[in-house]
């Protein structure tokens, strides 16, 4: 029995920022061709340790071809919700879905150096109990673990729309589908919410045939990827409003609501504008009439480039698109980090005024044509991709792979997994740490990062900052 709330649960985002810093990171190890088993790497993040910046433990699963991508915790600060009246869960298990296999591994990381598989949910069980496939984003919610999926039923995942299902946070039994009324939602990607205000926001990538074997250029140029975000009445499980960002805004991916639940706004990253190759960030908010609105508040221009230096896919455009593939918001809701995976840049925007973001810092690293080296002199494979910020906002970690088949299209000559860290200034500014450079074992790429004790894209807070 657990007598006290887990010390890593915090009532407010402010309290989480003051908590002790992370000692370990957990990062996906992905075998892009499925020749090896995927796994989770445990990275030592304690600068006083003799193994700082090294992979100190690996949990390699017994199966192959899972394609680990995003993952999350069994429990977070949402456990302090005054509604459940029961704060006694442990932040102990990582829920790691395979988006290619639809298998889910539950990994016990109570002792990070002895992390091990706790339970496996086989794809057949997920198909049978939910009718969904290709599980992706994890958030711990008021009634259990919410898992978004990228595919519906059937062999190619197009039999019915994808959606969200709920798992029990202790037994990891699948409870069932989330949606009672999905409205116009027919594709899925990310989701997040504001628990006290009782709303959820979800986004769209594309259907499995549009991504599993690589980006489908014809679909992209005819604007067939997702370009809407959906607002839900969280507890009524009902889509209350679908907001079309405009069909040229292809692939509305990451949803980052303000962490302070008193605020009713957030951000969404758009990979590419098919009219001009720009990357974009939309700010979404609830207006005085209770309607949801969204406005493009950041645009990032493509960089004209000699077709000689471009992969097949981009030769016709004579430019490198920024490709905004991940965004992350610091816990004080002040800095939004935007990964430009194509350009090879990590941008830091001051979003104190969410309607008028200001570029505050920038790091150049890797990139399709620029191929900027790390300050330690080594090459950076691909570009900055999955980004995670420490709770105190001072360290920004990122890895380099987007998705196996897409990496191969945009970076046909690159191979490898890397994780780096940049230091953020108190009032902005971003600088790579010369000494932090994790190289993944041969044959592995890297993807999402989770930090011990929670980070800036896992925890949902139930009380506003004071």
């Amino acid at each position: 029995m657990i007598a006290r709330p887990d010390p890593t649960f915090h009532a407010t985002a402010e309290l989480a920022m003051q908590a002790p810093v992370e000692n370990y990171g957990f990062t996906v190890m992905l075998s892009p061709d499925g020749s090896q088993s995927d796994g989770i790497a445990v990275v030592d993040l304690n600068p006083d340790s003799s193994t700082y910046g090294q992979i100190v433990h690996q949990v390699i699963v017994p199966t192959k071809g899972d394609e680990f991508h995003h993952f999350g915790w069994n429990a977070c600060s949402s456990s302090l919700s005054p509604l459940s009246g029961h704060a006694f869960l442990e932040r102990r298990y990582l829920i790691v879905p395979g988006i290619r296999s639809s298998r889910i591994y539950i990994i016990d990381v109570k002792d990070p150096l002895k992390a091990k598989i706790h339970k496996t949910l086989e794809p057949e069980e997920i198909f049978a109990k939910t009718g969904y496939s290709r599980p992706h984003t994890i958030h711990c919610g008021p009634e259990g673990i919410y898992v978004s999926t990228l595919g519906g039923g059937g062999e190619d995942g197009t039999d019915g729309p994808p959606g969200i299902f709920i798992m029990d946070c202790e037994s990891f039994e699948i409870i069932g589908r989330y949606e009672m009324d999905r409205g116009a939602q027919d594709k899925h990607y990310d989701f997040w919410w504001n628990l006290p205000q009782d709303y959820m926001v979800s986004s769209e990538w594309g259907l499995p045939p549009q991504y599993e074997n690589g980006v489908v250029a014809e679909d992209l140029l005819s604007n067939k990827y997702g370009h809407s975000i959906h607002f839900w009445d969280l507890r009524k499980r009902k889509n209350i409003q679908t907001l079309d960002l405009g069909e040229n805004h292809q692939m509305a991916l990451e949803i980052r609501p303000a962490h302070d639940p008193k605020k009713s706004y957030g951000f969404c990253g758009v990979v590419i504008d098919t009219t001009n190759l720009q990357g974009a960030i939309f700010t979404w908010w609830r207006d005085d009439d209770g309607k949801w609105q969204a406005k493009k508040t950041i645009t990032i221009d493509p960089r004209p480039t000699d077709p000689e230096d471009l992969p097949e896919l981009l030769k016709g455009f004579s430019a490198v698109p920024p490709l905004v593939t991940d965004i992350d918001l610091s816990l004080d809701d002040r800095f939004l980090y935007v990964a430009c995976w194509g350009l090879g840049e990590m941008h830091q925007y001051d979003v104190s005024d969410p309607m008028n973001p200001v570029l505050a810092g920038k790091v150049e690293l890797g990139g399709i044509a620029s191929k900027t080296k790390h300050p330690n002199g080594k090459d950076f494979v691909f570009g900055p991709q999955m980004v995670e910020i420490s709770r105190d906002g001072e360290r920004v970690y990122w890895t380099n792979s987007l998705y196996s088949t897409w990496d191969d299209q945009f970076y046909p000559d690159d191979e490898g997994g890397q994780m780096v860290m940049a230091r953020a200034g108190k009032d902005g500014g971003l600088e790579l740490d010369k000494d932090f450079f994790v190289e993944f074992p041969k044959g592995y790429r890297s993807h999402q990062i989770r930090l011990e004790g929670g980070d800036c894209s896992t925890d949902s807070f139930c009380y506003p900052n004071v």
Binding site: M1, I2, A3, R4, P5, P7, F9, H10, A11, T12, L15, L80, S81, P82, L83, S84, G85, H86, A87, F88, L89, G141, P142, E143, G144, C169, E170, L195, P196, Q197, D198, R235, P261, K262, C462, Y463, P464, V466
Partner: protein, 219 residues
């Protein structure tokens, strides 16, 4: 023990159980802090506490009033007391056995505090905890009541059920309000997680204990 002393002891039990429910975060005081902070208005704190109290009071009444009817209808008061005690013990044992993280309370809309409080009290058997105490209070007035007209008896029993529910809810609300106010104005939310203890087992055992005392006194 004299009759007056035992009546006083039983009423103290009503108050103490109220304080016990009130300080337990599971009965809702964190919701009042959250309501005040989310709205940015301190006056939401007493409003939320009043809604929580209302829900709790209804839950107490929903359990106690049927029992007050039974005390009039059932001839063998001892049998009723025994049966009630067994139900309370059974609820305690059920809560001891079922220790899963509760889900359904989280499905209530955050603004529906009265409903939430009613459901929370029902789910935890908070009303049941009062039943043996209430029957004890009825029992001490039983001798005189035997001579009274049925009408008076009924009114008396209902009034004492209402009395028990009101006194208990007042004690609960005041103790919850004190904690909520201190956290809201002075200590801050850090103390929310610091002072939150898992009372699941203690709570379940209290039900069993109250039931056992009921069994003993009915004997």
């Amino acid at each position: 023990m004299t009759e007056t002393a035992s009546v006083a002891a039983l009423w103290w039990a009503v108050i103490v159980s109220g304080v016990y429910h009130g300080v337990n975060p599971g009965m809702g005081w964190p919701l009042s802090v959250s309501a005040a902070l989310m709205s940015g208005r301190a006056r939401q704190l007493p409003i939320a506490l009043a809604m929580l109290a209302f829900g709790h009071l209804l839950a107490m009444m929903a359990i106690l009033l049927p029992f007050s009817m039974l005390t009039i209808l059932v001839e063998k008061q001892r049998a009723l007391q025994l049966a009630a005690s067994v139900i309370v013990i059974a609820m305690g044992l059920y809560l001891l056995w079922n220790r899963k993280h509760p889900k359904f309370l989280a499905r209530v809309h955050p603004a529906k505090l009265g409903l939430w409080s009613f459901l929370a009290a029902m789910a935890h058997g908070a009303g049941l905890m009062l039943v043996p105490i209430y029957l004890g209070i009825c029992g001490t007035t039983g001798v005189d009541a035997g001579h009274a007209a049925a009408q008076n008896l009924m009114t008396g029993r209902i009034l004492s059920a209402v009395g028990v529910a009101v006194v208990h809810t007042l004690a609960m609300s005041i103790s919850g309000a004190i904690i909520a106010t201190v956290i809201y104005y002075w200590l801050g939310l850090k103390f929310l997680s610091k002072t939150w203890f898992n009372l699941d087992v203690v709570w379940a055992l209290s039900l069993v204990l109250v039931g056992l005392i009921g069994l003993y006194s009915a004997h």
